[in-house]
Amino acid sequence: MATIPANTRLASERAAAGRLKSVIKAVREAPQAAVVILGGLMLVAIFADLIAPYEPTLPVQGANVFDPPFWMEGGRAATLLGTDFQGRDILSRLIYGARVSLIVGLMGTLVAGSIGTAMGILAGYVGGWVDQIIMRVTDAWLALPAIVFAIFLAAMVGPSMWNIIVILGGVYWTRYARVIRGEVLTLREREFVKLAEIAGASKLRVIKRHILPNVMNTATVLASLTVGVVIIAEASLSFLGVGVPPPQPAWGLMLSEARSTLMAGQWWLTVFPGLCILLIVLATQLFGDWLRVRLDPQLRNL
């Protein structure tokens, strides 16, 4: 006597309603500040050409060098946040600088994440000497101070935006590899993976359909937390002169160029870029934290 559960269709309708409710709840509980900051910065970066009042690399017509922000004495409304030592508008430079930070931050994280996740999965799932080799490489990599390593590489290959992205990706993948490997080791023992193996699935198939989707949560959370680190790394590289080459504005570069002026009283040249870096890193950390909490309990339920 086969029995069909009476309300299975109801279950799918209920599920749809439940999903809508949970999406609404997610939107309501999202960290508003972080989302606003990140969203705003992204819009700024994308529409920089439209938003920025001036060309970031050219001195502003009719303005002096070292003009202070508009609310101070000597400041003009035309240059809201003042000008730098070449007479370039700080605000425009900040806006264009957002592009660099975001692009390098996101792309660098993407590169790091891809390499790291791939290595982690290989090490965790294939095991054996592949695992050993990858882990030893990871250990060696981690032993080097990341920034120093990045500087070394940047000095070797010469600075350009894409070089920096690849370098930062190549430096920061190791934290991924470790964490993902740990996750994969646990996943490997889960029953659904064993079932797939018993059903005859090839290793590649198991990785593609069972392992990868289940590490995506962790990978995403790691990514959101790594973005901040990469942005700071990029700023550090720019600060040290081996980042994205001038005249393209980058926040770290702005800090570096204005180093000497901090004591001389032209504080706006360093404070504003510094604030921007602070904001974006804070926003990514908040977002990453929220993402971690949101994705983890769900993971546990699954």
């Binding site: 029995t3 069909i4 299975t8 269709r9 799918s12 064993k194 079932l195 005859g200 289940n214 699954l302």
Partner: protein
């Protein structure tokens, strides 16, 4: 009688354990130590025993998750040891498993239709449409509506997930399903649903089951024949009815005595056996059960009994009946 779907002879699996000062001394955990049984088409063999008896290891050996130390496993007459390539795939296609925990046996990020389709994608080259149709068919077979296919596992209850697991196990015209405690984690009323469903599927499709369990009543209900395992060996094996009517081995009797009554006025069995299953690292001499056996005789500690035919059919390994 038709050729058995699965025939196991002299199956042994010993795990090495290193101990001693520098890990030099090596002993063996004899998880499975000489097991024989056969499962015929459309039949259910129940494997019952407590922790450490070897039933889980036996299932792993059948599913090729471990390789035997000795003995053979033959599927439809062919030895499965060393199978490779297409023959291995053919075996995997025909022999599937359903595990105990409904919450971890389904991939959480895959839709039900993909979960069930997976064996089909691996073993056949049916078109997407044909696979989709087959998925719908097996869902109906296990009592679920085909339109639940796009949903994710976490939207289902435990009992429904087990049905999905069974559906996946059936997708590719499976001949033998190893059911490893498939209902132990389910509520009472759901257990009944699943057991009924399994029995119905067996009658309709002629699939064989190896049903591993610890609850005597459940195993006896669904199985045609039962094998009782203790510390790596089968101590008694017989038709389900015969075994329930007349258990002969003292351990089997202990299992029956320990089984819970179905009515408060059921005669309470004599005191259950004392002690616990000894460690597999230090097996008792002679008959493995003798230290706990209420009917132990001097010979029991010296000579290990072998399986002999018993009254009413089946076999039993006990000096009481030599």
């Amino acid at each position: 009688m038709a050729e058995p779907v699965l025939e196991v002879r002299g199956l042994k699996k010993h795990f090495p354990v290193r101990h001693g000062l520098l890990g030099r001394r090596k002993t063996w955990v004899k998880a499975v130590d000489g097991v024989d049984f056969a499962i015929h088409p459309g039949e259910t063999l129940g494997l019952i025993g407590e922790s450490g008896c070897g039933k889980t290891t036996t299932s792993k050996l059948i599913l090729l998750q471990e390789t035997p130390t000795a003995g053979s496993i033959a599927f439809e007459g062919r030895d499965i040891a060393g199978l490779e390539g297409t023959e291995l795939m053919a075996y995997r296609r025909a022999v599937q498993v359903v595990f105990q925990d409904p919450f971890s046996s389904l991939s959480p990020r895959m839709r039900v239709e993909d979960i069930i389709a997976e064996p089909l994608e691996i073993h056949t080259d049916l078109s997407r449409a044909a696979i989709g149709k087959r998925v719908g068919e097996v869902l109906e077979l296990v009592g679920l509506q085909p339109d639940v296919a796009p949903l994710f596992p976490h939207e289902f209850s435990g009992g429904q997930r087990q049905r999905i697991a069974i559906a996946r196990a059936l997708a590719t015209n499976t001949r033998l399903i190893v059911l490893d405690e498939p209902v132990s984690a389910l509520d009472v009323s759901v257990r009944a649903q699943i057991i009924n469903q399994l029995e119905h599927l067996q009658r309709t499709l002629g699939v064989s089951y190896l049903f591993i369990g610890h609850d005597l009543a459940t195993v006896a209900h669904i199985s045609h024949r039962i094998a009782v395992m203790y510390l790596g060996k089968i101590v008694e094996s017989a038709d389900s009815d015969t075994l329930c009517a007349r258990p002969m081995h003292p351990y089997t009797k202990a299992l029956f005595a320990a089984a819970l009554p179905s009515h408060p006025d059921d005669p309470q069995q004599e005191r259950t056996i004392a002690g616990e299953v000894p460690s597999a690292l230090r097996l008792p001499s002679g008959c493995r059960f003798h230290p706990r056996c209420p009917a132990a005789m001097p010979v029991c500690s010296e000579v290990e009994p072998t399986l002999q035919p018993r009254d009413g059919g089946g076999v039993v390994a006990c000096h009481l009946y030599d």
